[in-house]
């Protein structure tokens, strides 16, 4: 029998090793799997490469992972925010590597990894600093930059509900990067607000089919207070 559910967040992330590439879902705090990140901080893995849209907000979730100096490199689109002080400090000290990727290219590169696409030509970034040194091509009169997939060892995502097969549904704009990151990692770990019986999710409305999800752990909303903490 397939049962991807796990009892604790600690168990779910136990085998993330030093040097791993870890995708973390979320756009700001919406969809950020804070309890999985907290467990990762407690677990102690170092020298991580993190893929996220941002570089941490305030003093929660990803920001705390950065503060704990567990991150060697971050691949993101928008690190600089009013409350990204932990990233800012590390960056100015030269203690973290930054790969800055336009948000749509970030999303498409993650999708390409999940979809087995070797590389793709995107118009975004052409002629800018962020395409310097990259291969370009003119196709039908339009200019494109060649971009490559971003794969990960682990993806940590947050969803609304999941079942023992790993099927997931999300909530509103907290969906954001979760579904594509789930496809791009060797091992995808989802924290969900509730685990539902197999068949309870409408097959027409499943957003992430279980094939992309390896572990599901239940973190009820408000369980720690951090989930919906310093929201926006």
């Amino acid at each position: 029998m397939i049962d991807k559910t796990m009892a604790t967040v600690a168990e779910a992330i136990a085998d993330i090793k030093d040097g791993a590439t870890v995708m973390i879902g979320g756009f700001g705090s919406a969809g950020m799997p804070s309890e999985l990140i907290d467990a990762l901080i407690a677990q102690g893995a170092r020298e991580l490469t993190i893929v996220n849209n941002n570089a941490g907000n305030g003093d929660a979730g990803l920001a705390l992972l950065l503060k704990a100096r567990r991150v060697r490199k971050i691949i993101c689109s928008f690190p600089r925010q009013t409350d990204s002080w932990h990233f800012d400090t590390l960056y100015r000290a030269g203690e973290i590597e930054l790969e800055l990727v336009p948000q749509g290219n970030l999303a498409e590169r993650i999708r390409a990894a999940g979809a087995g696409i070797g590389a793709f030509y995107t118009p975004t970034g052409f002629g800018t600093l962020l395409a310097q040194g990259k291969e370009t091509r003119e196709i039908d009169g339009r200019h494109y930059v060649l971009e490559y997939p971003i794969r990960a060892d682990f993806a940590l995502v947050k969803a609304l509900a999941g079942d023992r097969w790993g099927n997931l549904v999300y909530r509103k704009t907290a969906r954001n990067f979760g579904p594509i990151m789930a496809t791009a990692a060797r091992c995808t770990i989802a924290q969900v607000q509730r685990i539902v019986p197999l068949g309870a999710l409408d097959p027409e409305a499943v957003v992430t089919p279980g094939i992309f999800v390896h572990r599901v752990v239940c973190v009820p909303a408000g369980a720690t207070g951090a989930t919906h903490g310093a929201a926006a």
Partner: protein, 211 residues
């Protein structure tokens, strides 16, 4: 010198958005446009973090941390809304499905190049977000900005000196002094603030502007 107020600029942009249009309003000044959309038009707002059919800010106390816009501010969803993931959302933009995108800018060149993501200052932490995708992600790209910097320099330039966001992407420029259209023959003034002449506008702008 007369100047359009920020609300006048926003209202002017709103007037140019047709009924039924799909529109993305960038962070900052462009968000004001939402307050001025004509009541007799149905205009559908997109936010690149995965929502089409975005509604206004919620009532105080009704904020939902899972329902935010690209500026990470709480918003609402209208009847007819749909949610989607980031790859689908940016495919929607990159694929040219939005009718209009309204963006702020540091500089716009006479050829329609846009600079709005990076001051180029060496000590600045770079952050691009969806700026480059937005600049390419609509049939029409409208820029809203002050015409001059605080130091009195024109933000409309022959060539951008700030790092560009995208080349040849801007359709129209809405400033506190004028509305300019980017054409293959250069800039054309659509509106000028009362009391300002076309030659004076061109002089202030430091670039040729056709009437």
């Amino acid at each position: 010198m007369n100047r359009y107020t920020r609300d006048q600029m926003a209202a002017r942009v709103a007037r140019d958005i047709r009924d039924g249009a799909y529109v993305n309003l960038g962070i900052g000044l462009p968000t004001l446009v939402a307050n001025h959309l004509p009541k007799d038009r149905e205009i559908i707002l997109h936010t690149e973090n995965g929502l089409l059919g975005m509604g206004p800010a919620p009532a105080p106390g009704a904020e939902d941390p899972d329902l935010i816009n690209a500026g990470k501010q709480p918003v609402t969803e209208l009847p007819g809304a749909s949610f989607f993931h980031h790859a689908d959302s940016f495919a929607m933009m990159r694929g040219g499905h939005l009718d209009c995108c309204v963006l702020g800018a540091f500089q716009v060149s006479v050829g329609g190049d846009l600079a709005n993501w990076h001051t180029g200052a060496p000590e600045a932490i770079p952050a691009v977000g969806g700026a480059m995708d937005l600049a390419l992600g609509a049939k029409s790209v409208y820029v809203m900005m002050e015409h001059l910097t605080k130091g009195g320099e024109s933000k409309i330039v022959t060539q951008c000196t700030y790092p560009v966001t995208a080349l040849h992407c801007v359709s129209r420029i809405y400033t506190d002094l004028a509305v300019l259209e980017v054409t293959s023959q250069g800039l054309r003034a659509v509106d000028i603030v009362d009391g300002l002449s076309l030659p004076e506008l061109a002089r202030l702008s430091g670039v040729p502007i056709n009437g």
